[in-house]
């Protein structure tokens, strides 16, 4: 950890708002990217992002520099992802967050006149199946797949973030890829 970051953390721990803000800005783009990869939905990603930094805000006074700040932060990200329930999952319990077009704060495009080409349509169809298959994974399998495939973490690093053995992470990756393979086989045939 560089001195600059250590000082920032110490200042933020004392309640310095701008220091906390600077810390957030150092890492939040990467956190949001991971959240988008994991949830595959921008609204859900914003929920994950917010939950992560609210937890960081609350827990920062207890951070004792026993690990790198980034490791500590991404552990929080992983924990939030593991416990995250998507808005789609929560939707059935909500009745009021609906606008007069029947949408729920989610982006939508009412215009359908920019039709994609056949190639784009095929690619889009495959992407849709991949997204659906990813949503069928358990949270642990999905976190491992997201961190390894989309974020490029090595399995050893993922094990540290998930606080488990590397062998366990390998099993999650294996079961994730097996499920994806079985689910997507008809799409590729």
């Amino acid at each position: 950890m560089d001195l600059d970051e250590r000082e920032l953390i110490l200042e933020a721990q004392k309640g310095d708002g701008p220091a906390f803000e600077e810390l957030v800005h150092r890492y939040d783009r990467k956190v949001l990217k991971l959240a988008v990869s994991y949830t595959n939905d921008e609204e859900d990603a914003k929920d994950v992002y917010q939950e992560v930094f609210i937890r960081v805000f609350r827990a920062l006074p207890g951070f004792r520099f026993e690990s790198r700040f980034s490791t500590w932060l991404y552990r929080i990200v992983v924990n939030v992802c593991l416990s995250h329930k998507s808005r789609a999952q929560n939707r059935e319990h909500e009745s009021l967050d609906v606008d007069d077009d029947g949408h729920e704060g989610r982006s939508f495009d009412p215009v359908s006149n920019d039709l994609p080409s056949d190639q784009k349509a095929l690619s889009s169809e495959i992407s849709r199946h991949v997204r659906a298959a990813l949503e069928g994974l358990s949270p642990q399998q999905r976190v491992v797949f997201t961190l390894r495939h989309y974020e490029g973490y090595k399995l050893k690093e993922i094990a540290i973030l998930m606080n488990c053995a590397e062998g366990t992470v390998k099993k999650y990756l294996f079961t994730a890829t097996e499920r994806l393979r079985h689910r997507l086989r008809p799409v590729f045939q």
Binding site: P18, E42, N113, D114, L155, F174, T177, R181, L184
Partner: protein, 315 residues
């Protein structure tokens, strides 16, 4: 080595997680095992189809940061941390800050002053000195709920204690939409209520041509909601309501803000329609439309911007 073990290694090979010896051993097996080769090929197809993760858009990042600020403000417990007091509030749109602070003060004033302490307290402004009573709290009619009690002096050995508490009470209001109290409450609900359904109903009520004498706070609350509310319906109603107001530069800027930043294409289209009218046409509007004509990610919005600009040139 068993076939099953090689199968377990295949994803590790695909993700470059095997050491050199393991790679060599697995490749020996793949040379003689069509099933494992097919397995590996399928996995490579999945890797390709899953693609790679792009960077989140700047708009999404800014939205996330904005919502984080709101979230932190709502979650913060004042006695434990004072960070939000030091937070860089210049991040926030000044108008929102004004409304938020105003709403907070007014809520406290209405909740405590108007409904609870109907008689002005005697003595120090911040300390309510109680009189002997026979039942209940002196300033607590039955329908008031008391919460968040904090003791300043819990030592009752001298017969006295001191504490603060928050009191809330339901209230029923019936009156004209032009009544300042009605407008104040609806403005607060529009910018302060956590429940999007409440915000939606408040903005729907304000979107009426019966509103003849709109308070400046109402207008400000509508602008804030238009720019910052996370619910599409609330933003849409706020935009419609603002069109009943006399045009000014702040409303123009709010509409252009929507055109530049709102993630919902329907809102951006509504903003174009709003700035399309004669009174809204000015160089800044034309400049933004010119930009949107080339840069907006939505084809219809690019088309619409071009059409409105052409209309402007013909007139």
């Amino acid at each position: 080595m068993r076939h099953q073990k090689f199968k377990e290694w295949i994803p590790l090979l695909a993700y470059d997680e095997l050491d050199e010896d393991q790679k060599y051993t697995l490749n020996q097996h793949l040379a003689v095992c069509p099933e494992c080769r097919e397995h590996l090929e399928e996995l490579k197809e999945i890797q390709q189809a899953a693609g790679s993760a792009g960077e989140p858009s700047e708009t999404l990042l800014q939205q996330a940061r904005r919502e984080l600020r709101t979230g932190l403000r709502q979650k913060q417990q004042p006695p434990q941390h004072n960070w939000l007091a030091d937070w860089n509030w210049s991040w926030l749109v000044p108008s929102f800050r004004t409304v938020a602070v105003g709403a907070l003060c007014l809520t406290a004033g209405l909740g405590v002053g108007h409904f609870v302490y109907r008689q002005p307290p005697a003595g120090d402004d911040n300390i309510i000195t109680t009189r002997p009573v026979t039942s209940g709290l002196p300033a607590s009619p039955g329908n008031i709920s008391v919460g968040n009690i904090r003791f300043i002096d819990a030592d009752a050995s001298d017969g006295n204690v001191e504490f603060t508490y928050e009191a809330t009470a339901p209230m029923r209001v019936r009156g004209s939409v032009n009544d300042p109290l009605v407008q104040d409450v609806l403005s607060q609900a529009l910018t302060g209520a956590q429940n999007p359904g409440v915000r939606l109903r408040a903005v729907s009520v304000l979107n009426t041509d019966q509103l003849k004498q709109p308070d400046a706070d109402v207008r400000q609350a509508l602008i804030t909601a238009l720019k910052m509310d996370e619910n599409n319906g609330v933003r849409k109603q706020a935009l419609a309501a603002l069109q009943n107001f006399p045009f000014d530069i702040e409303i123009r800027d709010a509409l252009l803000f929507v055109l530049n930043n709102d993630p919902n294409p329907a809102m951006r289209i509504a903003a174009i329609d709003a700035v399309r009218t004669e009174r809204y046409r000015d160089p800044e509007v034309l400049r933004v439309l010119e930009e949107k004509m080339h840069t907006d990610g939505n084809e219809y919005i690019r088309y619409r911007s071009r059409a409105v600009l052409q209309e402007a040139k013909q007139q």
